[in-house]
Subunit: 306 residues, 3 copies
């Protein structure tokens, strides 16, 4: 029974599969968790734009769902679709993920109207799209760089955590972190594990309990981002391009195998546990207490707007 | 068979249970590992004092077993009982753990006379009380704050590690750490795991090998404590109260679910393994070599007193 | 089936075994993974030298395979043999691992001519010797100190990671790290896990992807080494001796039990998975892509020499 397979066994399975397919198409990590839902990148040009440069090997994925790149089901499917489109081009080895909203917001996280008084038939599909986005981005064969020009709370932080490298603008008004507890909800275990893996268990524990949002400087200190761009420095896009070029110098087969070392276990774990994860999320988010807290939070946001 | 269930399976079970009970009474973490031994907090007022403020939602647990809050079986049962008493009050959301000994000592750790030339019938019960204290404190539904005004070696450090936040007085004479190896004994795996989770694998490995006791400044550097109180600053108690208030602002259901993310697996692991853990401890501590080392250590302590 | 036993179950088995054998001969960690291939330390005096001082309890293992202590199968068997020889002397509690090459190079890592256009009958034996060297050094009952006077890339870094303490000369020309990806190959999971355990998951992930080689100062910052020796300071050998003396003050039984806490699980994992690990390595390294990249790398090295 799959849930009884230990981490160690998962690793071995992946490890062997890596050996046997011998990276035949360099898209293994991607391939192993492709679900059957069809990509719809093409019909979502109003949500994301993908720009591929076969010359440099770098593709740029720009998110622009107004007003804050919050992740509706369609937005998540659109990002997933664009990632796969980039991967399908054999000349592309690196992906820069960024926002092209005038406000600079990276992503405000999950679209809360999907969670508050939700359509119960749509809710599990919404969650599956979130899982799929994580699997697509975190497990991509491409080297992935988050170019974070503005706030990245909650699932916006997940987008950043799923990349291989994070560059952020050094503006103290822009914060990043898994602040779910402040909204009365909780990150799923696979997202919490990303947090633990990137900033360490103790930092993650405290930040998850308190729903901490880190300023860029604080994020750099705990390791949540890798580099800051000060105003006056070269632009964040140039830095992302330079970093992409650095990754591209590594033989792709070795780079993908190295990624598998730190990410394979987590990908296998969620892949074998999607239904239960969805079930828990749906039952948790629809409880009276959570709905009430979400309602108050949305009300507070609406007031702040005025 | 339970020992063959992987971490991942444990997590799933907890995750589902979290969903199904829907935090009916917000005491899930506590509930899932309540053992059958009866609380005896009331008859131990000479060992600990519990002071609850329903207005602020904060309870304070003061330890005062002379001379050093060392953990005899009765002391551990007394602390466990007080934690549960605090949890039984639905208005209480936060617990401050501190010492009210005039010397300021937080806790000297396990009562060594329980380990040296031990009563063989009592020894396993003593160890089970230690496990239970860990399960009660580490898995409490309350947000827990250790206010450490003095030394906290060995199991005294465990008390601190089991809290959600640690504030320590900045007095270089007060040290904290798992120094078991210096006494010729070894921390149990669940306690070592706490150490690893809080200060990182490498720091923990070296400190466990050498039995390192950290000064407050060193403890802050490795992340063993979160904050230091300098003399002249606001008192350690005020800081603990302020931190408690910060935790209380988080919706309790979300805060408990976040705690489950980082602690659920470890709690499930020991809960399913208590007998074997006790068996190993008893066989290890009663070996001739360990008894001899403990004897020399106690002799050295006695000489130092004079 | 052993690969389905979870980490947690492994731990329990080790824990119980520790209890039952009661460190009868203080060589448990070593004993549990002794393979059947016979030691050949004696006939390899041209590769390593072992110098034991029963008075201090410290043995020194000097590697001197010209020109760079690269790890051929014979070299690895020779180091393994010397570790066991040191362990067989009950008066020895500590081992210093160092290089006595005039160039100061610690170890250049695996002998690449073993990997490029390899003898297919020898290749699996070569890899098993590498696994065995890890098991012997990482799981030694001795406290182990790496005295790193020069570069330690790839498997040279593994030698350092397997010790309990790492002292390095502060010369920016000497670098250390798992740079496998730069050569088009990948570290095995057990070596990647050592890296994660020592420098943290995030540092390890990025360094594995990019094949980073750290300068001594960078290595100190991420925790890859514990101490640097500046020129003018006491010699690196004196520092290693002092550190060895510090470890020796800890009761051996407790020190070995503490080592088991952080290393037992990993040792058990590889011990139960050696064949599959070898199988993957052999199939990965013999692919056309990897052979081609290795060929270019060796050519580049040859040109640089001239």
């Amino acid at each position: 029974m799959s849930v009884h397979v230990s981490q160690s066994a998962h690793k071995i399975q992946l490890w062997r599969r890596l050996g046997s397919v011998q990276y035949r198409n360099s898209r293994l990590l991607q391939r192993q968790h492709l679900s059957s839902f069809s990509s719809n990148a093409d019909r979502n040009d109003d949500l994301v734009t993908l720009e591929a440069s076969p010359d440099t090997g770098v593709a740029t994925l720009r998110m622009h769902r107004s007003p804050a790149n919050s992740l509706s089901m369609e937005m998540m499917q659109s990002i997933s679709g664009a990632i796969r489109k980039a991967e399908s081009d054999r000349k592309i080895q690196s992906l820069i993920l960024t926002s092209s909203l005038p406000s600079g917001i990276f992503s405000a996280g999950l679209e809360l109207t999907e969670l508050y008084q939700p359509d119960l038939a749509r809710l599990p599909k919404f969650w599956e799209s979130f899982q799929q986005l994580y699997l697509d981005l975190y497990g991509s064969r491409l080297s992935t760089i988050a170019s974070i020009g503005g706030p990245a709370p909650a699932a916006g932080c997940m987008l950043a955590l799923s990349c291989d490298y994070r560059i952020m603008t050094d503006n103290p008004k822009c914060t990043i972190g898994l602040n779910e507890s402040q909204l009365g909800i909780v990150a799923p275990p696979w997202l919490a594990q990303q947090y633990i893996d990137v900033i360490g268990n103790r930092n993650a524990e405290l930040a998850l309990l308190l729903g901490t949002l880190f300023t860029p400087q604080q994020a750099l200190t705990v390791g949540l981002v890798d580099e800051l761009v000060c105003s006056g420095d070269s632009s964040i896009d140039e830095m992302a391009q330079r970093k992409a070029a650095e990754f591209i110098r590594i033989p792709p087969k070795a780079r993908v195998a190295a990624k598998e070392l730190t990410r394979g276990t987590q990908i296998a774990k969620l892949s074998g546990n999607r239904e239960e994860d969805t079930e828990f999320f749906c039952s948790f988010v629809t409880t009276d207490t959570v709905q009430k807290t979400l309602g108050s939070y949305l009300e507070m946001l609406a007031k702040r707007k005025k």
